[in-house]
């Protein structure tokens, strides 16, 4: 565990120093990474640790973005702390009834129900344009961070300095919180549910209630990620709620490796940079991503982090065997 802490701190330092070294464009990609990292931390709690595959997490990401839009644009509330609070509250309020309905079912049905809810929201965002702005989306205005407006900065400056560090801070806090959750007694019970829900019941694990809590936590994380996305692009877009966006979230989780704490973060990072590089390379980037997904699912189901872990394990074993051989 100690190693993980050092790696985390190192990554945090490197990311914090990035604005001093990198161009604005990669910094905005990193912003995307922070947003998706948060959303994926939540999804991994639900999927990797509790075993529930939700095809509707994008709903909550969209809720976050639209909360930011409604707060800043329609209500004139520019305090980002307030926006975050609203986004989390909205996500929880929506997640509780949906969760109550969905956690009664498992695997396919859970996936289908969450997909249906996700698309329900998408439909609502798309069609009720008087309320939601329709397919044009809703604008998100620049928020103030801890009361500071940074009015003298242009958009790029704002996004790549103060907002960047704020978002990084959010991701860091989110990571620490999720780490604690995953290593708590609650986290253990979630893993028990994933491994064998029936046996878990017999050991007194309140399966439904815990699944609901995991679902709600995941939704809150997704919403926070959504607010970051909304501020970054300045727009809350109905396509954020489309089912393929949920599919991408799962793709990212698998890419990094689920049931593995760092997996989703690695997955988010790799996916975003991979997608970006591919997009500038070819217009058929979806094809490449699809092939990558096939390769991962078929050959490396434990994702990149899992692959790295087994490689390291193999290396260590070889060193130990060589050592033993030498000493024999």
């Amino acid at each position: 565990m100690k190693a993980a802490v050092w790696v985390g701190l190192g990554a945090l330092a490197a990311l914090a120093a990035a604005p001093l070294v990198l161009e604005p464009y990669p910094l905005t990609l990193l912003l995307q990474f922070f947003a998706y990292g948060l959303a994926l931390l939540g999804l991994n709690l639900l999927f990797g640790y509790t075993g529930l595959l939700s095809f509707g997490q994008a709903l909550f990401v969209a809720l976050g973005a639209y909360s930011a839009a409604v707060c800043t644009r329609k209500l004139g509330w520019h305090s980002f702390e307030l926006v975050l609070g609203v986004a989390v509250v909205v996500a929880v309020v929506v997640a509780v009834p949906i969760g109550l309905l969905c956690v009664r079912y498992v695997s396919i049905f859970f996936g289908m129900l969450t997909l249906a809810f996700g698309m329900l929201f998408h439909s609502f965002l798309f069609k009720f344009y008087l309320v939601t702005g329709g397919d044009g989306g809703m604008l998100v205005e620049r928020p103030s961070l801890f009361g500071m407006r940074f009015a003298e900065m242009d958009k790029t400056m704002f996004l790549t300095r103060p907002f960047y560090w704020y978002a990084l801070g959010l991701l860091a806090v989110g990571t620490v919180v999720m780490w604690r959750i995953v290593h708590s007694p609650f986290g253990l019970h979630l893993s028990a549910i994933r491994e064998n829900a029936r046996k878990a019941e017999y050991l007194g694990v309140e399966v439904r209630r815990l699944r609901l809590i995991a679902f709600v936590i995941a939704s809150a994380f997704a919403a926070v990620g959504g607010t970051l996305l909304g501020v970054r692009t300045g727009l809350a877009d109905p396509e954020l709620a489309y089912w393929t966006h949920s599919g991408n979230l799962i793709f990212m989780t698998l890419l990094g490796g689920f049931s593995n704490f760092a997996g989703p973060l690695v997955g988010a990072g790799v996916f975003i940079f991979l997608q970006d590089s591919l997009m500038s390379f070819t217009q058929y980037w979806r094809l490449v991503l699809g092939v990558v997904l096939v390769v991962i699912v078929v050959l490396f189901p434990r994702g990149l982090v899992g692959l790295a872990q087994s490689l390291v394990a193999r290396l260590l074993r070889r060193r130990r065997d060589a050592h033993a051989h030498r000493n024999a």
Partner: protein, 309 residues
Amino acid sequence: MRTGTSRSERLDPFSLVISFLDILLGGVFHAAVLFLVAAGLQLVFGVQKIINLACGSFYALGAYTGISAVTWALAHGLPRGLFLFALIGAGLGLAVVGPPVEALLRTVYRRDEAFQLLLTFALVLIIEDVLRMIWGANPQELGNLYMHYGTVGKGALTVPAYNLLVIAAALLVAVGLGLFLKRTRFGRLLRATAEDRETSATLGVEVGRVYTVVFTLGTVLGTLGGALVVPTAAASLDMSVDLVVEAFAVVVIGGLGSIRGAVVGALAVGLMRAFAVSFMPEMEMLSIYLVVIAVLILRPAGLFGKAAA
């Protein structure tokens, strides 16, 4: 196909009935196409327990291929009246796609369902770009070709004969599938494998071969649906992802794994959409999702499906 009359004009009972029938027929046509795709989904799920997220992609593939097939055939001397056969040929010809895709899916059969879903999701991504590569990003269509078969009916209620043909074709497929599953040896084999994979294997059933056939059949139903719909609607890249949700709605309402369910579910969704579009366009898809959620809560097995949670 539908004339856009405002509410105030539809006051006399006769035109109300006409409008109603008009909408009804539109709904049934849509249902016919949906049924084909959903039946493919049901077959594959019923036997292999795979939910194919790429069903919409096969549908789109059928649509684009259908357009190319018809265009090519007409340019090479096919009489206009026979364009339907070019479409059917395209739909059926795409059966070649089935076995390789099934072979790919076979690598994850034993694993968690999540992996199967993700693999089919990967196919969605891949196929979309393949379509983009071959046909480009702009929607394609066949213009008014389908009107070659003329219209049926008179006065305010006229329906393109093509639409009736498609509905008839879907009915034929429905009946044919039903007979196939109940009366033929292979059909019974299918149902046995669906019930119990292991026992069937020990009884000498080549489960692998059954799976390949079933998946290919499911694929063909999807591509056929796409090919048949394309004269009346444009083929676009969005088709693949848009259809998935509708197909899911059909399957949930009708019950997973049931062909009868596909018929009823398709009618439900097709008609709901048709009426929603006429009276409350904002509710078009919303109404469907609400029904899906209601069904999943009240009767998760759907109308004809088996056990749920």
